[in-house]
């Protein structure tokens, strides 16, 4: 196209030194080894260019848009054969989109004008594949003429890897964005490096307000002390730390609770690089948990209510009947008394008594005095028994429910157990004999009485159900429930044993799971034992275990420490 040789280009025919300055404008680009540039630096003047034949980079020399030299690597790259006659047009192999640019660079270069150090170009091989190359145009003198040396390195694989990496990054970003969790990253200087959308929404703090700043200096509306303690533990133990029930109070909204896990992040070399705070707003979950516990309580109380109603209605029935009987009996007897009073009067007055004696005889027979004298004392006795029974139940209910007490107080477990047994009487009395073996010298145990009674009740009711299921429609033998207490070591042990069918092997590891129930749908929330476990283990620092043998029965064992501890 143009034959003009740029005056800036040193003349050909010069020594190596000259060529080096022109061909190697950027010495940093030089790559030792099989670099085409190194080879050329020494040999491009030689017509045979022997070293250039062996390098891995594809090399072509272009003059006036025509390829006048190509090395074997070039032929290999473009799947061309050596027999192909030169000169070919440089642009033949270049993808359409890149052609104008390549032509421009080649021409500029030949004119000695500045061109980019390197550019990415798509080439089409003779067998139709697309390869991406990194192309470096250089001005040289070739056979006395300015020419463009083009070095091409196949970066197809590299490019694909890069694209894959980009895609992976993007996917990761999407995954992270999709996680409805709070995700906060901090580096070793507690500077915030990550602050995701959920964190922004939860705290009402934008990433721009916090990223790059130390965590403790940021105004995040949360319990900072709890977080700092967690971070310190995480750093010192080098292990994941769980921080639950962190209070937070975003402006203009209700206070809530966070559950966070703090994980140490490591660099590729294994050094600590920062800490990742991952977590969620657990306010709703906490609310649900407490509602569920409440529901379970209500369920068992509802169930009890029917039983307690029965327990109270029965004595009330016979107290009422007896009172009615006493009322009528008294009426009858007072009639008789009147006759006797008349008799007394007559005796005193010395009047004839025959008529009143007759009346007394008739009335005595009519009202059946013998029956009344026999029955009245028993009627009174049994009515008093009934009153005592109602009183016992009402007292036990009061002791059982312990309204208001939410803290641990010293509790006489034996008494608590007796009240619970009384309250639940209607649940077990048709299926079981109740045997209690309560250690008389049991020390007082620190516990939340209402909660612990609930645990004992849940286990008692389960025991009664286990016995109830065993019996058929006829006259099943009653089973036995044995409740015993003992002091052992630094704690006390409550054992509640039934003679039921035992817990089948297959479900033994599930019985404390929330929502696990063997009762029919709609009966039981499946929370009874799960809540019992939570209360004993988490609230009281105790243990709840069981021993069971199929066909023999199950014993639940509650162990409670005598000393107040932790939570």
């Amino acid at each position: 196209m143009t034959s003009a040789v740029s005056p800036a280009v040193p003349n050909t025919g010069g020594g190596q030194q000259q060529n080096r300055t022109s061909a190697c404008q950027n010495p940093n680009q030089g790559v030792p080894g099989h670099s085409a540039e190194d080879a050329l630096r020494h040999n491009y003047q030689d017509a045979t260019l022997p070293l250039v034949e062996y390098v891995n980079d594809a090399i072509a020399i272009v003059q006036y848009d025509k390829i006048i030299y190509q090395n074997p690597a070039y032929l290999k790259l473009l799947r061309q054969s050596a027999e192909d006659s030169l000169p070919r047009d440089l642009l033949d192999a270049v993808m359409l989109a890149d052609r104008a640019r390549v032509q421009e660079y080649a021409q500029k270069c030949q004119r000695g004008e500045a061109v980019p150090e390197q550019c990415k170009v798509g080439l089409c091989t003779d067998d139709g594949r697309l390869v991406t190359v990194e192309m470096k145009p250089r001005l040289i003198t070739y056979q006395g003429q300015p020419a463009t040396l083009i070095i091409m390195r196949d970066i197809t694989a590299h490019n694909q890897a890069e694209a894959a990496l980009r895609e992976a990054h993007q996917r990761m970003a999407q995954v992270l964005a999709a996680i409805p969790s709070i995700l906060i990253g901090i580096d070793m200087d507690t500077k915030i490096t990550w602050w995701n959308t959920t964190a922004e929404q939860t705290f009402g703090v934008a990433p721009s307000q916090v990223v790059g700043r130390p965590l403790q200096e940021c105004a995040i509306p949360w319990d900072a002390q709890a977080i700092m303690n967690g971070l310190a533990t995480c750093r010192s133990t080098q292990a994941r730390v769980r921080v639950d029930d962190v209070r937070f109070h975003p402006p203009g909204r209700k206070e809530g609770f966070l559950g966070l896990s703090l994980t140490l992040m490591q660099s590729a070399s294994g050094e600590a690089a920062g800490i990742l705070l991952l977590g969620a707003n657990i306010t709703k979950r906490k609310l649900m948990q407490s509602q569920l516990a409440q529901a379970q309580k209500l369920e068992s109380i509802g169930q009890l209510a029917a039983g307690i109603a029965h327990e109270i209605n029965t004595p009330i029935q016979y107290i009422g009947d007896n009172m009615l009987f006493l009322q009528e009996s008294f009426h009858d007897l007072s009639t008789l008394l009147e006759h006797y009073a008349a008799l007394y009067q007559m005796c005193r007055d010395g009047a004839p008594m025959a008529s009143v004696l007759g009346q007394i005889e008739t009335t005595t027979a009519a009202i059946d005095v013998a029956y009344l004298t026999a029955e009245i004392p028993t009627a009174i006795q049994q009515s008093l028994e009934g009153v005592e029974r109602v009183a016992t139940i009402v007292r036990a209910m009061k002791e059982f429910s312990h309204p208001g007490t939410k803290e641990k107080v010293s509790v006489d477990l034996n008494k608590a157990i007796e009240s619970t047994i009384t309250v639940a009487r209607n649940e077990w009395k048709y299926v079981a004999q109740m045997v209690t073996d309560l250690a008389p010298d049991l020390p007082l145990v620190p516990c939340v009485p209402g909660e612990l009674n609930q645990v004992i009740l849940n286990i008692l009711v389960n025991a009664a159900h286990a016995l109830g299921d065993g019996g058929g429609d006829g006259a099943p033998e009653k089973g036995t429930i044995t409740v015993s207490t003992r002091q052992g070591g630094d704690g006390v042990e409550i054992r509640i044993a039934d003679t039921g069918p035992g817990i089948p092997e297959a479900i033994r590891d599930k019985i404390f799971d929330p929502f696990f129930t063997t009762k029919e749908v709609g009966k039981g929330t499946g929370q009874g034992l799960a809540i019992a476990h939570t209360v004993v283990v988490e609230q009281h620092g105790g243990q709840l275990t069981f021993e069971t043998a199929e066909g023999e029965g199950t014993t639940f064992i509650i162990r409670l420490p005598l000393t107040l501890s932790g939570s």
Binding site: A309, H310, Y318, I319, D321, L324, Y430, A475
Partner: protein, 398 residues
């Protein structure tokens, strides 16, 4: 003759309390007290009892199990539960075998009255076979179309109480069963209800659902049972009678209870026909044919063949089920009100007149001539002049 009453309760104090409280009845009733279902059955095997009053929850055999056995082995015994228990699933199971349900603590007067009424029922129905047959009935067959409608309505997630109540109130059998449940303390305290719709509302949709689907307290006629019996006609006649009876009671300025009872007794007055058609279809067809052939009323033919009538059978059933006395009385005497000891205006008056009026309007019922109006009875109540005002259109409405 002394009636024999058997009381069963696992609580001895309750038995003794009952014994003392009922001591004044000792001349009329021979009372036996036992502490378990097994003892009760053994005792019944030795000598029959007229009424059994049993606790619900007892170890070994509970009240429902006991009364189910009594129903099967000693059908003549009237079965009553006296329980302080309120577990609805347990009570649901009792609905079939139990005639009446009393809640502890039970007022002494109510207990006495209930037992006394059960004893008195015997005089209504002399034949022990029929007594056993009626006492053994856990359900009454409904009109198949209405039965299906109820099944659909209770299973429809959008179904409402009103809708279910509306369907049930158009069915004789379902109405009877509903009134049994609310007149006893099965699901709460006994109280006056003005209509089957109100009964449905009192029970609630969940209970109705459980009763209909799980306990199957309703059933329906099948083709075989129907025989020569025209169900549609009976249903139409009953609905028309109930509306007419209600109107008569209203126009006579009767109080709310009398109006309500007149309405319900009107709907139920031929319930005995259902019992006979469902359980003695051959005999009953014969009675219908005989009435047709000899030009007598159906009940006269019934009396000739069965020595009783559907009026007495129906009254016996509803009496067993504890429906209010005015309804039972209206059923028992609806053909011959003059025989009723109470000669004042009552639901019986309204039902008797309505029945006769509706028959005159539409005598398409199978067999025989319609029952004539008891003019002497109407005249004695001073209602003769009122008759023409009740006769026309409104009675046809249904």
């Amino acid at each position: 003759m002394q009636k024999r009453i058997l009381f069963v309760d696992d609580e001895v104090n309750v038995l003794q309390g009952l014994r003392r409280m009922l001591n004044p009845m000792r001349h009329e009733w021979e009372m036996v007290f036992v502490a378990s279902g097994q003892e009760a059955l053994a005792l019944l095997a030795q000598a029959p009892c007229d009424v059994i009053v049993s606790d619900m929850r007892m170890p070994g055999m509970d009240g429902t199990q006991l009364l189910t056995q009594v129903m099967e082995r000693f059908p003549l015994t009237v079965r009553i539960i006296l329980s302080g228990y309120a577990d609805s699933s347990m009570i649901l199971k009792a609905v079939g075998p139990v005639h009446q349900y009393l809640a502890k603590p039970c007022d002494a007067a109510i207990l006495q009255l209930t037992v006394a009424r059960a004893c008195a029922l015997r005089s209504l129905l002399a034949d022990p076979t029929l007594q056993g047959l009626v006492a053994g009935m856990q359900t009454l067959p409904s009109l198949p179309t209405l039965y299906l409608e109820v099944l659909e309505a209770v299973q429809d997630p959008q179904g409402s109480l009103e809708q279910v109540g509306d369907i049930m109130s158009r069915d004789i059998s379902m109405t009877a069963k509903l009134l049994q449940l609310v007149n006893s303390a099965f699901f709460g305290l006994r109280r006056h209800v003005s209509s089957p719709v109100e009964a449905v509302k009192l029970l609630g949709l969940d209970t109705i659902k459980a009763l209909t689907l799980s306990m199957q307290i309703f059933s329906h006629f099948d083709q075989k049972q129907e025989g020569a019996f025209a169900l549609d006609v009976l249903w139409q006649h009953s609905l028309a009678t109930s509306i007419c009876a209600k109107r008569i009671a209203q126009e006579e300025q009767q109080d709310r209870h009398v109006v309500d009872h007149a309405f319900m007794a009107g709907l139920l007055h031929d319930v005995g026909k259902l019992v006979l058609a469902a359980h003695l279809p051959d005999l009953y067809s014969a009675a219908l044919a005989q009435a047709q052939a000899h030009g007598t009323t159906v009940w006269e033919a019934e009396r000739a063949l069965l020595e009783t009538t559907h009026a007495e059978v129906g009254a016996y059933l509803l009496g067993l089920w504890g429906l209010p006395d005015p309804i039972v009385e209206a059923l028992a005497f609806h053909h011959c009100p003059s025989a009723c000891p109470d000669q004042r205006f009552s639901p019986l008056t309204a039902v008797h007149i309505a029945n006769a009026l509706v028959h005159t309007e539409d005598s398409s019922e199978a067999g025989g001539t319609p029952t004539a109006l008891d003019s002497a009875y109407v005249a004695q109540l001073g209602l003769s002049e009122r008759l023409p005002t009740w006769r026309p259109q409104p009675c046809r409405a249904a």
